[in-house]
Structures are given as C-alpha cells and as structure tokens.
C-alpha cells in the first residue's frame, strides 16, 4: 500500500515513458535493425547473408544512384534557400498591421494543408503541354510559349519541381518566421530608432539576430523536407523522363519493390547521412554565431 502511494506521488518521473516506449518501438528499434539489414544481401524472401559494406561499395558504382544524389541535392539546394528568403519576406510583409491580416496569413498557409501528392496532380494539370491551364492562359494572352513540355525535359522538370515545392511550403516557413518576429520586444526598435538606425540597419542588426531560433527551425526542417522529397515528384514526373528527376527516396522505394531489400536499406542509410551531416554543420555554425552575438 505504502509502495503504491509512493509510486503515485512520484508518477511525474515516469511521465516520459509512454512517449519513449512508442517512439522506441516504432522508430529506434526499426532504425537499429535497418543498420543491420543494410549490411546484408537481404531480398525479403531467402535468408539474408552478411556482406559487410558491399552495398555501400555498390552504391558508389551505381550510375543511377549518382544521378539520384545529384537530383536530390539540386532539389534541396534550390528549395531550402528560396523557401527561407521568401518565407522571411512574406513574414515581414504580413507582420505589419493591416485589415484582414489574419485572413491573408491563413490563405498563404493553406497550400501546405494539401498533401503534396494532390498538389502535384493539380500542377500536373496546370502544366500539361498543349492542353493544360497554363497553355490556355498563355495562348489567349498571345504569348506563344504555352506548348512547351516543361515536365518532359529533364532540366526544366527539376526547376519546376523546386518552384512547386517553394510555392507550397512558403506559408509554413513564413509562420515560423512570423512567430519569431512577434517575440521581438518593440523597445529594441525604439532604441534603434533613437540611435538613428534606418529600416535596413535595424533589419540587419535587430530583426535577423532576434529570429535566430526561427532560422534554425526553418533551415533544419527545410533541409530534411527537401532532401527526402518524394510525393511531389511521384505525382508530377514519376521520376522521369528516364531517371532524370528521380530522388533518392523514390529510388529507395523502387529498390524495395524490386526486392533489393538490403541494398535499398543501405541507400536509406546514405540518405540519412546526407541529411544529418549538413544539419550538424549548420547547427554548429549557427550556435557559434549565436554565442558571438
């Protein structure tokens, strides 16, 4: 009885347990197993054999994988900076007082509410050569480039994918910056004004340093999101033409469906490394910066 009472009084020390158990079972445990599987020739059917680092060696000789790494990096290097620049500009504009501010914020966020898959289908309809929305729009305005097959050309397709991603998630990035802007005490700007700082100067010396926490969250989530891009590509190009717009996550799934389980998991580990390394470098850099300020 006494023991029960004691446990009841100390229950707060165990409050993290449900979350840990859930996360441990459905994430940490499979992750640990995945590291093991990546070292085998598992195909999901016959008994797997341990092959050491063979899968990773294969990866470096896999031309399709190289192309996918390039595509994934292209997409991320295009998306992450653009999202942050436009997200920040959007936040600056929508932070100022005007009528209907809340409504506009909600509307700008709205595209992020739709699944990237459905959004991809919508854009597919807009961009179809010779019959899409954009084609008809450009035709009726007598701008004759409407017939171009933006998605059929490998290079323009990648650029289109970056554009759609930025356009869909700019609202998400904006909300985090908006949150940062709202936590800046107004006195700082008043002090800056007394010291004679103009708009640009106070932006540089007050606003940006004060939203470091928002920058951190945004850059990290954008790196993760764009390097693991999957649905929007599935919907728009399905990785084609050829493998020219295939991302690593799509390759992982394709290899999985093709029963190359061990190799697929190894590629997943490579993607994991590709995400964690830039994030750590960025975090070290920005934490050092923060310390200096």
């Amino acid at each position: 009885m006494n023991l029960l009472r004691k446990l009841w009084n100390n229950l707060h020390l165990f409050m993290a347990l449900p979350a840990i158990l859930l996360f441990g079972l459905f994430f940490i445990y499979p992750l640990a197993q995945g590291i093991g599987i990546s070292l085998t020739d598992s195909n999901g059917m016959s008994a797997p054999r341990f092959v050491g680092l063979q899968n990773f060696i294969d990866f470096f000789h896999d031309a399709r994988a190289k192309k996918d790494v390039y595509n994934t990096l292209f997409f991320a290097v295009g998306s992450a900076p653009l999202l942050n620049i436009f997200g920040f500009l959007y936040a600056l504009i929508l932070d100022r007082p005007f009528k209907g501010k809340g409504f506009v914020r909600a509307v700008v966020y709205l595209p992020a509410v739709i699944s990237p898959l459905i959004m991809g289908y919508v854009w597919y309809f807009i961009l179809q050569p010779d019959r899409g929305f954009l084609y008809h729009l450009l035709e009726s305005l007598h701008l004759g480039t409407g017939g171009s097959d933006w998605l059929g050309n490998a290079h323009s397709a990648l650029i289109v994918l970056v554009f759609i991603n930025v356009w869909q998630f700019v609202g998400m990035t904006m909300i985090i910056y908006l949150a940062g802007l709202q936590s800046i005490p107004k006195e700082l700007y008043e002090a800056g004004e007394i010291d004679g700082a103009g708009y640009i100067k106070s932006l540089w010396y007050i606003t940006i340093p004060m939203v470091v926490q928002s920058i951190k969250i945004n850059v990290v989530t954008n790196i993760i999101g764009s390097l693991s891009v999957f649905e929007v590509i599935m919907a728009l190009t399905d990785g084609g033409p050829g493998y020219s717009t295939e991302s690593l996550s799509i390759y992982i799934l394709r290899m999985l469906y093709g029963s190359f389980t061990g190799y697929s998991t190894a590629v997943a580990m490579v993607l994991f490394a590709m995400i964690i390394i830039p994030v750590f470098i960025f975090m070290r850099y920005i934490n050092k910066k923060e310390f200096e300020m």
Binding site: F27, F98, L110, I176, S228, L253, L271
Partner: protein, 273 residues
C-alpha cells in the same frame, strides 16, 4: 504619397493571396465541370457548376469508407500524440535530470530522420505484431512519427510557463502528476492547437506509409483513394478533382478552426523555448 503606399501594400498582399489560391480554384473548377468539358477553352474561367461529380466520385471510389478510415487514424493518432507528448514535455521541462536530458536530445536527433529510412524493418515489425491493415497499428505508428516535434514544442512551451501554476495545486494536495492533468494541461491550449494542426495534417495526408501498411481495399485512407483515381481513370479529371476536394475539405475546415491559436503556439513552443 501615403495613399499610394497603402495601395501598393494591399496590391502586394492580394497578389500573395491569389498565388496561394490557384490550386484551390483549379481543383474546384475541374470538380464542377461536366465530363465533356474539362478544358479552359476560350479562357472561360467559370465552371459548369455540375455538382453530380461529387456524388459520382463519392460512390465510385468508396470515399465514404476512406474518409472514415482517415478520421479514425487521424483522431486516434492526434489524441495519442497530445497525451504522450504533453506529459513527456512536462517531465522534461520540469524535472530536468540526466535521463530526461538524454531523451530530449535523442528525440531532437531523430526529428531529422525521414520515416522512409526505416520502411523495411518497420514492415517486418508490423507483420510480426499483426498490425498490417489495422487501425490500431497505424495509429500507434503515426503517433510515434509525431512525437519528436510535439515533445519539442511542449517542452519549449512549458519551460516558459511559470512554475507557480502547479505549485499552488500541489499545496492543495495534488501530486505533481495530477497537478499537470488538472491544472497545467489547460494552459497548453495554444501548443496543443499547433500540434493538432501540424500532426493532424501530417497524418491526414500521409501517403508514403499508408501505401505499405494499409494495402487492404477496406482500409484505404483518403490519399490512397484519391491516388487510385489518378492511376486508374486516366482522363476523368472532373471526378478526380471532385474526389480530391472531398478529401481536402475536412483538412481545410479543421485548419481554419484551429489556426487562430496556431501562431501563438508556435511562438511559445518553438521560438521562445
């Protein structure tokens, strides 16, 4: 001078809103057209207002069942996330020790790992616990996906909440555990709203994992039902769009209901914490 600036500002803001509304317009436009007219001929921007697409799409792809599945999984997952993540956040924020510190750090690192990476071993796990094609296993999985970021938000928020909130309840005879559920939990509404929006949408829209673990015809969620449409009936844009609108509507409504608290929750949880 001042007038031109205000005008410019409103033009800019209107432009931003219009840009964001394009897909909604396109989807509605397509969903309301007659099957024979799916294109923008002569740039007539008004659709036919043919509402029968909705009922047809609803029946032919069993959207009712898909909506029910999506609702069960989303509500179950979100409730589980709120319970588990808020209590973990409380423990980490208020009773800081080595164990809680390392749990928090582990979750932060795992936030960076996309779910696709663990697909293979997860499939084996789901199979061995009999969780393929079941609501409960999908709910547990979706909850575990959402836990890292939600714990991060709750911890940040509770850290800036004054301790006195619980202290007086404890003097009145609560244990720290009951003080949390009876008192502190009610102060967490803004973060809870942010968690509901972010995680609820992530679960509602989940496609990558639903494809693997909900393969049964009767278990399809909305993204699966809509994507079936796109794959099977190549040319019927009006029906596809109607299905997409049906799947979208609950998410948009839920977002508009909770969005008032959204920025507040993010500000306090992620940005200040």
């Amino acid at each position: 001078m001042k007038n031109t600036r205000t005008l410019g500002k409103y033009a800019l803001v209107a432009g931003m809103s219009l840009l964001s509304l394009i897909p909604f317009y396109i989807l509605l436009y397509l969903a309301l057209n007659k099957p024979s007219r799916t294109l923008f001929n002569g740039l007539s921007l008004l659709p036919d207002f043919n509402f029968s697409n909705f009922s047809e799409a609803w029946e032919s792809s069993r959207m009712g069942l898909a909506t029910l599945n999506s609702l069960i999984i989303t509500i179950g997952g979100a409730v589980l996330i709120i319970l588990a993540a808020s209590s973990a956040g409380y423990a980490i924020a208020r009773y800081s020790n080595k164990f809680h510190q390392s749990v928090f750090n582990l979750l932060l690192i795992c936030m960076m790992i996309p779910a696709i990476i663990i697909t293979v071993p997860l499939y084996t796990l789901m199979k061995s616990i009999g969780g393929i094609n079941t609501h409960w296993a999908m709910i547990l999985l979706m909850a575990s996906n959402g836990i890292p970021f939600s714990v991060f938000l709750y911890t940040g928020f509770i850290k800036v909440l004054p301790k006195e909130i619980e202290e007086s309840a404890i003097i009145d005879g609560c244990t720290p555990f009951t003080a949390f559920w009876r008192v502190t939990f009610h102060f967490l509404r803004p973060v809870t709203a942010a968690v509901v929006i972010l995680q609820g949408l992530a679960i509602w829209n989940n496609y990558g994992q639903a494809v693997f673990f909900l393969q049964g015809q009767d278990m399809r969620t909305i993204p699966l039902a809509v994507s079936m449409f796109f794959q099977q009936y190549g040319a019927q844009w009006n029906l596809m769009a109607a299905a997409a609108v049906i799947g979208l509507a609950p998410a948009v409504v839920a977002f508009l209901v909770f969005q008032k608290y959204f920025v507040k929750g993010i500000t306090a949880g992620a940005v200040k914490g």
